[in-house]
């Protein structure tokens, strides 16, 4: 028996704004409001937002094999610190998550760790080599909720089609990394006037648009639920909007960095800003931001992609792609979008709660009794500077170092237990 009260917070979920209440959690589920009685733990939420913990369908936790960048313990702690109660981990590890034994191991180790819940994704192709299908039914039985070769585009259309046929039959979500490899070529940043000025190999928006179109058409052909990950460009988003309007069973994800940074960030040749797909132009960022309020975008996924500082201090051509951001995602988006008056709070929350749940076919997270006791308490007022040195993630370097943000999670409860407190 474990009973918790989250006291005096301002309660919101996808069903609406419920006002100021004490929220009681009992044995991992939500018990009800304002019940009173003895508790084992009291969380002070006076003056703060209380809302279902966020769902991240896209995080690179680097476990197994790349624990120097991140591991399950640091990654799940970082997720909880960012207000996330559930994380879908990507499969581009070493070895690749292409074997049911690895999935089962991730599931069991994550349960022992606690913190955020882990729902692993498995690879679409063996070794993520883009040649041979993985055993999707066995991977699903072991606990995989999604299949994806994220990090590496699936170049072969026929393989993509076969994976989607299987996924449709098994009810698995397919997540794409939609970039045409031959058009993307050796690009390390967005192709445009900035890349030309800097003399860095460019990756054109057409590489994304072309592959989104193929992936959407394969979704339509097969009926598979295809989640178009990290759509980064205006052209890409227009293709995705067209696919959705024409009935393809696709959903669309955008990331915190593509919503807040543009290609001019590369002016200083700092590989910290090297990410795939690349940071686009200010016009693309503005387009993505406007689209957030429309049904074209279904979810915000972090694409948290930690690397070591040494890797990120290599040269621009050889440094790896990826930005670690899971701990700043909400404060960043809250500050730049909600506090700035660009997006209503309810919509931002929806894109981190109901949106991703719907993509996965999971129940909408609610603060009603009987629901999982995954709750985040957020201080929307206090402003604090980002300090990467204090991240739970192993990647302590961040593009937003020193940025003054509000909207910091102060406590995250998962399964009714305190997974994070500031």
């Amino acid at each position: 028996m474990s009973r918790v009260v989250v006291r005096g917070g301002d309660l919101r979920d996808g069903a609406g704004h419920h006002g100021r209440h004490d929220l009681y959690l009992l044995d991992g589920t939500i018990e009800g409001l304002d019940l009173g009685g003895r508790v084992d733990l009291e969380v002070d939420a006076e003056g703060n937002l209380v809302t279902p913990a966020f769902l991240d369908l896209h995080a690179h936790l680097r476990d197994p094999g790349q624990e120097v960048k991140e591991d399950l313990a640091s990654g799940l702690a970082a997720a909880a610190a960012g207000g996330f109660g559930t994380v879908v981990s990507m499969a581009n590890t070493a070895p690749v998550v292409d074997d049911p034994g690895i999935v089962a191991d991730l599931v069991s180790r994550s349960r022992a760790i606690g913190k955020a819940r882990l729902r692993p994704a498995a690879a679409l192709s063996r070794g993520m080599r883009g040649e041979q299908l993985t055993d999707l039914s066995a991977l699903k039985r072991a606990g995989a909720v999604m299949i994806t070769d994220d990090g590496v585009p699936v170049a072969d259309g026929r393989l993509m089609r076969s994976a989607c046929e299987y996924a449709a039959e098994l009810g698995l979500v397919v997540q794409t990394h939609s970039e045409d490899p031959s058009l993307r070529a050796d690009g390390v940043m967005n192709e445009g006037v900035v890349s030309q000025r800097l003399g860095l190999p460019g990756n054109p928006d057409a590489a994304e648009a072309v592959m989104l179109f193929r992936d959407g058409e394969v979704a339509r052909l097969t009926g598979a639920r295809v989640h178009l990950a990290h759509v980064s460009s205006r052209r890409g988003l227009e293709v995705a909007a067209w696919l959705k309007a024409s009935g393809a069973p696709v959903s669309v994800e955008v990331t915190p960095h593509h919503l807040t940074l543009d290609d001019e960030a590369l002016e200083g040749f700092d590989p910290l800003y090297k990410v795939a797909p690349p940071l686009r132009t200010r016009a693309d960022v503005d387009h993505l931001r406007r689209a957030l309020a429309t049904p074209v975008i279904d979810s915000i996924g972090t694409d948290h992609a930690p690397h070591t500082l040494a890797e990120k201090q290599r040269d621009m051509l050889s440094a790896p792609f990826g930005i670690g951001n899971i701990e700043v995602a909400f404060p960043l988006l809250y500050t730049e979008l909600v506090a700035a008056g660009v997006l209503p709070l309810e919509r931002l929350l929806w894109l981190l709660q109901d949106g991703p749940a719907r993509v996965m076919g999971w129940g909408a997270p609610r603060l009603d009794s009987g629901h999982p006791a995954d709750v985040v308490v957020i201080d929307l007022e206090a402003v604090a500077a980002v300090d990467g040195g204090k991240f739970a993630s192993k990647a302590k370097h961040t593009p937003w170092q020193g940025a003054e943000l509000s909207g910091w999670p102060v406590a995250t409860l998962v399964r009714g237990e305190l997974a994070f407190t500031r």
Partner: protein, 343 residues
Amino acid sequence: MGTAAAVSTAAVTQETSPVSTTPKPARHTRRHLIDFQGWQPDELMALLDTADVMAQVLTRTIKKVPALQGFTVATLFFEDSTRTRLSFERAARAQSADVIAFAAGSSSLKKGEGIKDTLRTLEQLQADLYVVRHPAAGVPRQLTRWTDAAVVNAGDGRHAHPTQALLDAYTFRSALAIKPPEGAPLAPFTGRRLAIVGDIEHSRVARSNVELFTKLGAEVVLCGPATLLPRELAQLPGVTITHSLEAAVEGADAVMALRLQRERMSSALLPSEAEYVARYQLTERAMRLAKDHAIVMHPGPINRDVEISSDLADGPRSVIEQQVANGVSVRMAVLYTLLVGKR
């Protein structure tokens, strides 16, 4: 570190050597030459004026001055280059600086030592200035974050090769006897036109010349096949692009041909060398459309009868050899200005 680091001049530490007339400034006051961002036209012209003085030095019987005595210049070449490295080393030694040469062959790069670790090792040698060449754009800029020494970019990927552009501007200025027009001292190249022909996409020389010449007031016309001529560059002020060699050359004060790499054919950027030669080879005949006094430049090394015809390369319009000679004076001026000069 798996690389050859050779001390090529007898080490003279600053404690034991008498310092040149100008006191050595504290290391943190140094500045860098990465590209021309932050450089004003008058500072750039002053550099070219200093190069004039250095050129005089190189005509003396004793081609050496003590201007940089006690300073150590380290050349860090992560990419093969003989000409540029020799030019810098000559420029340093002609001013009595000590020179340390670090050359990382491609194999040692693959051993995976990061640039920061390489720098950290070399920092122990107490160089005052690094001359850096690297196949990746941005490395010289990255190094400025980790050292107090001055950094001179000797070519980084496709990004920049500022001393090449300076020597081109110097050559251009001397060959055309350009004096700043009255009333526009900050745009001394106003009304002048430079055409650059060839593989613009992959050329750091082209990018640096675009930056420098437009900053000095010139018009720059870029010319080449569409696969090697990024249209985005037309958005830069003072730059126009064309796919017609005739249009590029017409009315130009100087035309620069760029080296065509053979690998462009295998990467589907060009159908054949013959096709390129037919459309873009710079010839005496094509130059008839340029101004009468127009000069022909090439950053070298040249592919004779590919991007430039032999008759033109060896003819009276060619300043290709002057470019190489001027490279030493210009690099002397750069080293001097960054190490002891006022800016």
